[in-house]
Amino acid sequence: MKAAPAPANPAAEFRSGLIRMGLDPRKFDYVVALAGNPNTGKSTVFNQLTGLNQHTGNWPGKTVARAEGRFDAFGKKYKVVDLPGTYSLLSRTVEEEIARDFLLFGSPDVVVVVVDATCLERNLNLTLQLLDITDRVVVCLNLMDEAKRRGIEVDATKLEEMLGVPVVPCAARRGDGLSNLVEKVHAVATGAVKCSPVRLNPRPEIQRALDELTPQVAQVLPHAANPRWVAMRLLDGDETIMEEVQRGHLAHFDARPIEGQA
């Protein structure tokens, strides 16, 4: 995967992707998606970031709750979309489909992945899958207070080095580290910090198959943020992705902004 170029994001396509995701791009400068395993304090981070500026509703056409909010930082308006909590992006629960489609077709400027410092290994599974889809990730290493209490030490600097994206230690319940998080989000959004994330290294046969499929995917799904990842899912036999390819567009998100819903 190392050879994969950072996915290009022509402005027009980016905007149309957002509109289909139910977001109006005129109202803010950057979109931040909040991802993470369930029970990592993701909602706490969301609440701390957005305060009272929240909407809740459902994902278009789904019974999964959706929360959105906004915050202003360094003179820019940020829209925060709280994705459903998932352990992975590779199986096919509704939650994972929603999270995956938003990352793939909503092209958020930054993805903040909230990670539980008390069980890092388990949480890294999702983080690594995210890094396979997008470069622009900030890791919020949450529950540092709880980890310390239990005698677990996590070396954030080392983690940042190994993952190749900013890692911010936080204790969201107490508000610790959040201003730092916002700073890093801003830096990644504006391009002040360039990420060079660790990539998974599939077997050579898989690499070759991906090299062959990726250009074809880019042609069929021009809105997809990361055609190589889509190719990977096709190679894996992911039926929901196959259906999306067949239709050539997203089934789950129509042009219905959340603001328009009751």
Binding site: L120, T127, G151, L200, P202, E212, Q219, L234, V245
Partner: protein
């Protein structure tokens, strides 16, 4: 051919050529995560060590199953022991009210049929539903929810994984099966966690073989009133709890056997690999446990039973009191169903109750009791012993009847909500029909074999 179709076709070819893509990808993710975590995390988790020790015992080959069964038996025992006294008190209180209501109707010289319909029909069936079902549910659901909340169910799934794999099904089916103990419709939806359509169908079709919230009260009542009462009081509740554990084990056995049969016939294939993660144990949130188990489960199930018991009580009273020719309508229907019922260890009334109860399993017992009580008109029953007497001496119930009824309740067709859910999830009338009728056929077959064998051995 469109470019999308070309792409899909090529991807399918490559998938076949390369092989094992999913396993390879999952391995990459897990190995990288493990490498990074190993390099960045130091210190030992004080809580983790304890959890790991606990997991090693709870999921060990030697202790996993015995502990599982002991916990289940413990939950049943607490329910049966604990529900006895409140059930009696509720029954005597509610039937005292029935008498008062009857006096009130007589005092205002209301017509006898109105008193019969409202007091001895509708009110009485309501009183029965509440006194028979409420106390066991109010104890069983919170205790079971507590186990769920502690994080024990994923350990159960872990223990069961090997068995399901041997049956040619997906290990995660153990999880959707565990959900089925709460509600089969929820269990059917939970099969979404299974990736392969073949294995998912197996999980959907067999989900019904574990008893749901709607059937627990029936089973617990039968275990209490018949199984426990047949033994001296000192051991009665222990025997009753064991019989319930046995029944659950039988349900799991049927699940495995049917899964194995399906995966060797109509749904052939190799079980796919998966990794099951044991989530951390949690300190149960007592208030939430009480809330979800009492409001979401107990009150919900009771409400459904009450809502259905009212019209059923009225219908039962009416058909038991209107005669065509020389017998009541109910006697005609019961007489018609009786031979079939007898053949499988039940009787006509029970089959009638099951037909009426297709919308909701909760009302089998209330309907049955309504029918029995109305066939014989106004017998006054005001406690559990008299219920037992009514069934045994007036209606010829034997231990075989109780056992057959428990088996039938365990195995018969899913309720209409579950059937509808299966249709929505599979999108196929054929699979829905199979998931509906296969259990029914199995229920009839098993009960028939049990009844005939018991009679042959002179036990019936």
């Amino acid at each position: 051919m469109s470019s999308a179709e070309l792409l899909l076709r090529r991807a399918a070819e490559l998938r076949k050529d390369v092989g094992g893509v999913h396993e390879s990808l999952t391995k990459d993710v897990y190995e990288t995560a493990s490498k990074i975590a190993g390099a960045c995390v130091s210190g030992t988790d004080s809580r983790n060590r304890l959890e790991m020790r606990l997991d090693r015992i709870l999921t060990s080959k030697l202790w996993g199953f015995p502990i599982m069964l002991a916990l289940l038996a413990g939950v049943f025992w607490v329910t049966i022991e604990g529900a006895n006294v409140p059930s009696q008190m509720l029954a005597s209180g509610l039937f005292w009210i029935e008498d008062q209501l009857a006096y009130a109707f007589q005092a205002v010289s209301a017509p006898a049929w109105l008193e019969g319909l409202l007091v001895h029909g509708v009110y009485r069936s309501l009183a029965w539903v509440v006194s028979v079902m409420l106390p066991p549910m109010a104890i069983f659901f919170p205790t079971f929810t507590l186990l769920e909340d502690l994080g024990y169910l994923p350990r159960v799934a872990f223990n069961m994984d090997r068995l399901f794999k041997k049956a040619g099904a997906h290990g995660k089916q153990a999880l959707s099966m565990s959900m089925g103990f709460g509600c089969n419709a929820a269990g059917v939806i939970a099969t979404r966690i299974i990736d392969s359509p073949r294995e998912r169908l197996i999980a959907i079709i067999t989900n019904n073989f574990v008893p749901c919230n709607g059937r627990w009260p029936t089973l617990i009542m039968l275990a209490t009133v018949f199984v426990a009462a047949a033994f001296p009081p000192s051991v009665g509740s222990v025997v009753a709890a064991s019989s319930l554990v046995g029944l659950v084990l039988f349900g799991i056995l049927v699940t495995l056997v049917v899964s194995a049969l399906l995966s060797r016939t109509v749904l052939k294939g190799v079980p796919s690999a998966f990794s099951l993660e044991l989530p951390p144990y949690r300190k149960p949130q007592l208030l939430r446990v009480l809330y979800t188990s009492l409001i979401d489960r107990t009150i919900f199930v009771l409400w459904r039973a009450v809502v259905w018991a009212i019209p059923c009580g009225a219908v039962a009273w009416i058909i038991a009191n209107i005669s065509i020719g020389d017998a009541t309508i109910m006697a005609h229907i019961v007489g018609f169903l009786d031979p079939l019922g007898r053949a499988i260890g039940l009787d006509g009334v029970i089959l009638l109750a099951y037909i009426v109860a297709i919308p909701a399993n909760e009302i089998v017992v209330p309907t049955m009791l309504m029918a029995y009580m109305n066939v014989d008109r106004m017998i006054e029953i005001d406690d559990m012993t008299q219920l037992r007497h009514l069934l045994i001496y007036e209606h010829g119930w034997t231990t075989l009847t109780a056992v057959s009824l428990m088996l039938f309740s365990l195995l018969h067709n899913p309720c209409s909500t579950t059937i509808w859910t299966i249709f929505k999830e599979t999108g196929s009338k054929r699979w829905t029909a199979l998931a509906t009728f296969l259990p029914l056929v199995i229920a009839f077959a098993v009960c028939f074999i049990v009844a005939q064998t018991a009679r042959l051995l002179g036990l019936g």
